[in-house]
């Protein structure tokens, strides 16, 4: 699994992005996006913003669950109180270069089983979002932080990476 996480401001501007891989099931925590897929990720995340705005007023929930998919990319979203969007793109890397032929068939079978709406995956994603939200509120409480400004703090990035390692 590879993940692309983005925080989008109120003007649809990216505030923070982070790319990582799964740490579950022996994963090394590194993303395996192909080089030509990286810019595509940004398009997919951007196009999902419309769907976030469609469901935004439907319920008061912050965690909006899995919203969208494009090919094998799945989008989950979380909305903060001030309408900052957290978007997580998850991609079972079916076309990642297999390290050995013997494991590739084994890996393909686990990816086919990946289901973003299963309770276990939803719960893990939710916990990840809540942990990031906690760090996000602390960022916002910084009196020197202005709304929609990019977040450059390495401590914040470390917090996101730690949450990713813990839950995804």
């Amino acid at each position: 699994m590879s993940f692309y996480f983005a925080i989008i401001g109120t003007k649809d501007n990216p505030i923070f992005t982070h790319e990582f891989g799964t740490s579950k099931a022996g994963g090394d925590g590194l993303s395996r996006f192909r080089d030509d897929q990286r810019h595509l990720n940004q398009f997919i995340v951007h196009s999902s913003l419309d769907i976030v705005e469609e469901v935004q007023w439907g319920s008061g929930a912050m965690y909006l669950k899995a919203l969208d998919r494009f090919q094998n990319n799945h989008i989950s979203a979380f909305l903060t109180g001030a309408n900052i969007k957290f978007i997580l793109l998850s991609n079972p890397d079916t076309h990642a270069p297999a390290r050995t032929t013997s494991t590739s068939s084994n890996r393909a079978s686990t990816y086919a089983a990946y289901n973003p709406t299963s309770p276990a995956v939803e719960e893990a994603t939710k916990n990840f979002f809540l942990e990031v939200y906690d760090a996000w509120v602390k960022t916002v409480m910084n009196p020197f932080y202005q709304l929609n400004a990019p977040v450059r703090s390495p401590v914040f990035r470390a917090r996101v990476a730690a949450a990713a390692k813990k839950f995804l």
């Binding site: 008061g60 929930a61 309408n83 979002f129 906690d134």
Partner: protein
């Protein structure tokens, strides 16, 4: 930390002392960044009223330095409060909700209740005294406070009797509404009664202040659609 001996110790030394683990990032002396602090602390540790009053007076005189009139001064106070509202919205949502993922206000009334109870209690230690909808204009809501804390040590000079320094609180309210996605056409603070001799309740609460919230038309439009969807 081992560094190669420098040929010029005068310039090398201060750099070394500033540098910590990663370049460009400086930790406070206690090694605690803002991310290490708990969001839920200080339930009992409140700011003393004297220091708030002192700070607020300084804020007013700072805002007053370059203004042209009362309206301009109120606008400046409003702008000082606005960012505070944006921040408090998320902070209070995380603090109050047992399950933070179910807490976003999407309708006007829950938002206003959030302001009059949660926000007011956080800022002033008690809920607001009244919340009303304007009879004349459906887009207008009024929150009244009989004795605003911000005005308790402020005596307004006679020639500026229109001035209400609770404009600062109005700015906070505007920040909360705007942040939650409820655009306003401005939130303003008014004295409840211009002529105190006329009305009995005004004599009882001479400092009574009304915060007038005017929502933007698109907010009301959305509210109607949502009301139909749930009915």
């Amino acid at each position: 930390m081992t560094q190669p001996p420098s040929k010029n110790p005068q310039t090398a030394l201060p750099q070394q002392s500033l540098r910590t683990q990663s370049p460009g990032l400086r930790y406070p002396t206690n090694k605690k960044t803002i991310y290490d602090r708990n969001l839920n602390r200080t339930r009992t540790a409140e700011l003393s009223r004297a220091s708030f009053a002192y700070l607020f007076v300084e804020m007013i005189s700072y805002a007053q330095r370059r203004v042209t009139g009362v309206a301009d001064l109120e606008k400046r106070l409003n702008l000082q409060g606005y960012p505070l509202g944006l921040r408090l919205l998320d902070l209070l949502l995380t603090r109050t909700a047992p399950q933070p993922s179910t807490a976003r206000p999407v309708r006007v009334l829950p938002l206003l209740q959030f302001i009059t109870t949660t926000l007011w209690k956080h800022l002033f230690g008690r809920p607001a005294d009244a919340l009303e909808r304007s009879a004349a204009n459906a887009a207008e809501y009024m929150i009244s406070d009989n004795e605003p804390l911000v005005n308790s040590y402020i005596s307004v000079p006679r020639e500026m009797s229109q001035l209400n320094c609770a404009a600062y609180v109005a700015g906070i309210i505007e920040g909360v509404c705007d942040g939650a996605g409820f655009a306003t056409q401005g939130v303003s603070a008014h004295w409840a009664n211009e002529d105190p001799a006329k009305d009995a309740p005004a004599q009882m609460w001479p400092g009574k202040t009304v915060f007038l919230i005017r929502f933007a038309p698109e907010v009301l439009e959305r509210e109607e659609i949502l009301a139909k969807a749930t009915a």
